[in-house]
Structures are given as C-alpha cells and as structure tokens.
C-alpha cells in the first residue's frame, strides 16, 4: 500500500517563474491538503481539496492555486515566484469526514528553491 507520494523531490526556479508540484494521496484517501514549511519553522496550511474543489484556504495569496483530479491526485501551482516562496511543500491526504479521527498522512515533501 503506497503512502503519499510527491514529485519532484527538489526543484530550483528563478524569481518570476511558475512552478507545479504534484501529490498522489494514500490509497483510499479522497482529500488532499497542502502545507508550506519554511526553513526552521512549522508547516503552514495553504489549502485543502475535496471532490475536485478547494474546500478551505489558509492565509496565502492568489498566486498559490491548486487542482484535484478525479483520481484524487492534486497539484499545487505557484505563479510569479518570490524568494520567500523557497520552502518545503508538504502534501497530506485523509478521508473526508464531518467529524472523527481521520488522520492525515504526510508525503516526503518537495523542496523548492527560488533564486
């Protein structure tokens, strides 16, 4: 049973460019959340996707957008990259439930460096 996978592992971009990060959820999971983890800090919630729609969003600008596909995989897109976007981007998957102990499983992350 594959866990959460993310690609690529590492990525280097320059300011102003656009980037797409990909995530495949754990088998059986239908909800994907994205987090940004700056160096030396805890992860910050970006947004969550369920049924191919953005269900909840953290305090991130519109330059950050996403998509969820019918197979529940997801993409995170960042436009007009800034130096401050350099971070580890984590994807987490879970089962959608209105309440209950639905644990989130994290992927290994994508390290984005903006030069």
């Amino acid at each position: 049973d594959a866990g959460v996978t993310q690609s690529p592992t590492h990525l280097i971009k320059t300011r102003g460019q656009q980037v797409t990060l990909r995530c495949s959820p754990k088998s059986g999971h239908d909800t994907v959340s994205w987090y940004q983890q700056a160096l030396g800090q805890g992860p910050q919630f970006i947004f969550q996707y369920y049924e191919e729609e953005e269900r909840q969003r953290g305090n991130f600008p519109d330059r950050f957008s996403g998509h969820q596909f019918p197979n529940y995989s997801s993409e995170l897109n960042v436009n007009a990259l800034l130096l401050g976007d350099s971070a580890l981007y984590l994807c987490a998957s879970s089962l959608a439930m209105t309440s209950g102990n639905n644990e989130q499983f994290f992927g290994p992350g994508t390290r984005l460096t903006v030069l």
Binding site: S33, Y35, G40, Q41, G42, P43, Q44, F45, Q48, R55, Q56, G58, L88, L90, A92, S94, M97, T98, S99, N101, N102, E103, Q104, F106, G107, P108, G109, R111
Partner: protein, 115 residues
C-alpha cells in the same frame, strides 16, 4: 484563530534518559485533537502520538506519553529511554473538529540525543 506555541527551540537528552518537550495552545473550542509529529532529516512527518481533548486520560504510545492539561491548554510530550533514532524536529499540532479539519502547527523543537 488557534495558535500553538513551543517555547523550547532546542533540547538535548542523554541516551536512555527521559526528556519532556513543552507545548501550549490557544483556542476557544471545547473539543479538538492534539498531536505530536516527528520530522527526521528525511523530512517525512511521522505521527508520534494523538490526544482527543474530550478524553481525560493521557495518551501513551510505548516510550512516548503526554501530559494533557486542558484547563491550562498545555500538551507536553515525554520521551522515556531516549534512543539515538529519536533525534529529530518535534512539532506540536492542533486540529479542530470543524469543517476542513486542518492542522495548526507549532514552530517545533529540535531534539538531539547524545550517546
């Protein structure tokens, strides 16, 4: 909005000894979940232990246990018989039971285990 604070940026412990990591949080909700996650250099976030706020009994997982003080909004992690493999960043996290159910993470504590 909920916040999570970890006041110890770095901690060290001798192998086989016991160490306690501190965490406090702020919320107006009465029911929620609290977590401790471990992030080794491999970057994979690994669930260490979970506590439901409505349970008065402190959670225990092998060498890991928590001291949950709901009134004080405190949630500390005790690691007994520390092992070299316990060295990692430890994040305290809060999760609401409400719609979306995403995590709010603390800034983390870096734990070193000395041989």
């Amino acid at each position: 909005a909920q916040t999570v604070t970890q006041s110890q940026p770095e901690m060290s412990v001798q192998e086989a000894e016991t160490v306690t990591l501190s965490c406090t949080y702020d919320t107006s909700e009465s029911d929620y979940y609290l977590f401790w996650y471990k992030q080794p250099p491999s970057r994979q976030m690994i669930l260490v232990i979970r506590q439901e706020a409505y349970k008065q009994q402190n959670a225990t997982e092998n060498r890991f246990s928590v001291n949950f003080q709901k009134a004080a909004k405190s949630f500390s992690l005790k690691i007994s018989d520390s092992q070299l493999g316990d060295a990692a960043m430890y994040f305290c996290a809060y999760r609401t039971l409400n719609y979306g159910q995403n995590f709010v993470f603390g800034p983390g504590t870096r734990l070193s285990v000395l041989p």
